[in-house]
């Protein structure tokens, strides 16, 4: 059955960032690439998003940031996910991410970074590459 290869990707934003244009565009593009997007929108708390990761069982989590606090928030989210036993789910970042921070972000466990100028085909193939086997 084709269902076995369906990728589930949870997309959301943390904190007070309201710039949702990018993440909604990405949601639609991933949809058109055959990916199931669990879209949780903006204004999520770290705890709430980590709980959503537990219950929704996505193959990958995508965060979008257009604010400066992304290192701190991402760090907190990954820590919360580890506490809740879902630290193995990869996290990717998009939005206005400064290249100077890439190394720090990789250091705290971010699996993929897609800053300004990233190409959609690259994001799509990255998300697809995180599909887990069904069993």
């Amino acid at each position: 059955m084709t269902e076995t290869s369906t990728v589930r990707c949870l997309l959301g934003m943390l904190g007070t960032d309201v710039h949702s244009k990018g993440i909604r565009t990405l949601a639609q593009i991933l949809r058109d690439a055959g990916i199931e997007v669990i879209y949780i929108g903006e204004h999520n708390s770290v705890e709430g998003m980590a709980n959503a990761v537990v219950d929704e069982d996505p193959d990958i989590v995508g965060l979008s940031f257009s604010s400066a606090a992304y290192i701190d928030y991402t760090h907190q989210l990954i820590a919360a996910m580890q506490r809740k036993g879902v630290g193995d789910v990869p996290v990717m970042l998009g939005g206005i991410i400064h290249p100077d921070d890439y190394e720090t972000l990789r250091g705290i466990g971010v699996a993929g970074i897609f800053g300004p100028g990233s190409l959609m085909p690259d994001i799509i193939s990255f998300v697809r590459s995180k599909a887990r086997p069904a069993a």
Binding site: M1, T2, E3, T4, T6, R8, A27, Q28, L30, R31, D32, A33, G34, I35, E36, V37, I38, Y39, I40, G41, H43, N44, S45, E47, G48, M49, N51, A52, V54, D55, E56, D57, K84, G85, V86, A134, A135
Partner: protein, 317 residues
């Protein structure tokens, strides 16, 4: 629990949310290796009250569900929500956005929300909805809310799973001709005209009240109430809670009706599973026997009825 309970089922019965979420994904993927887990979980279930919400897209289902969950939480109930959104007919992808309206429950351990894609099924629910109910019921949630995709006139799969069906409508749902048409309006146990501040809402309430009053009497004797509500600010939620409560009291006083409904639901669930199994059987490629029978039909040595009968009988053995 005895030793015969498989590992995943045992973890779920012990309240493991990750185990439950994982098993649900495997059920969605059609993984047959989990059958024994589902069997054990089904046998442990049967306690949850299952409330179905259906209605057209944008009518306010998720927002009203959010309100109801808040209300049930104040009563101390543990609540699970299965929120279904459509899959793309072209790519198979989906944007499952119901959680956006339910963000306030994300930090509450007493609430579990799971988004599911309809994956090509046209009845308003996801193919694994039944398995999702089995899993959540075994986790001892007091109430399981199922929210269908935004539906049209005849997506009725919710009937197979919900103990009560709540149908949302708005002032924009058409005139008095729409409300006497057959289909989804007939399956509602409670009718809610949401966004009641919209002009024409009172008219819609009257059309639906008239429809409910003139419908053929139901076997359970229940007359579906029609309520006006505004999910966005909670107006009318008290009426909805009262109506849900009254329905279950009414139903409890009529065990024979309740049993009939449960029997219908089991038939519908078995039918859905059988249907899926037959579909897999028939659509498989490379089975020489099947290919030969198909060619026999083309050659008019056999006919579609012959093969259909053969497939359904093979299933019964």
């Amino acid at each position: 629990m005895n030793k015969n309970v498989p590992a995943a089922a045992a973890a779920i019965l012990a309240g493991g949310r990750r185990a439950a979420a994982r098993l649900l994904s495997r059920a969605e993927a059609g993984d047959e290796a989990i059958i024994n887990d589902l069997r054990a979980l089904y046998r442990a279930g049967g306690h949850a009250r299952i409330i179905g919400f259906t209605g057209p897209p944008g009518a306010g289902k998720s927002t009203l569900v959010d309100r109801l969950v808040t209300e049930l939480r104040t009563k101390g109930e543990r609540v699970a929500v299965i929120a279904v959104d459509p899959s793309s007919p072209f790519s198979g992808g989906a944007v499952l956005g119901d959680r956006v309206r339910m963000g306030r429950h994300a930090s509450d351990e007493g609430v579990l929300i799971r988004s599911m894609a309809a994956r090509g099924i046209l009845g308003g629910l996801a193919p694994a909805t039944g398995d999702a109910v089995t899993i959540l019921d075994a986790m001892r949630f007091d109430t399981i809310v199922i929210e269908t995709v935004g539906v049209g006139q005849s997506e009725l799969d919710i009937l197979a799973h919900a103990d009560i069906v709540i149908l949302l409508q708005t002032a924009l749902g058409g005139d008095g001709v729409q409300t006497v048409k057959a289909g989804i309006l007939e399956i509602a146990d409670v009718l809610v005209v949401n966004k009641a501040d919209t002009q024409g809402s009172d008219k819609m309430v009257r059309y639906l009240t008239e429809m409910a009053a003139h419908a053929a009497p139901r076997p359970d004797g229940w007359v579906p109430p029609v309520l006006a509500a505004q999910a966005v600010n909670g107006a009318g939620l008290d009426l909805l809670c009262d109506a849900i409560g009254a329905f279950f009291v009414h139903r409890a006083a009529r065990p024979e009706v309740d049993l009939a409904r449960r029997r219908r639901q089991v038939r519908a669930r078995v039918l859905a599973l059988t249907d899926a199994a037959l579909r897999r059987l028939l659509l498989q490629r490379g089975d020489a026997g099947l290919e030969r029978r198909i060619d026999d039909i083309i050659a008019r040595i056999s006919d579609p009825h012959d093969l259909a009968r053969l497939l359904s009988q093979r299933g019964l053995k």
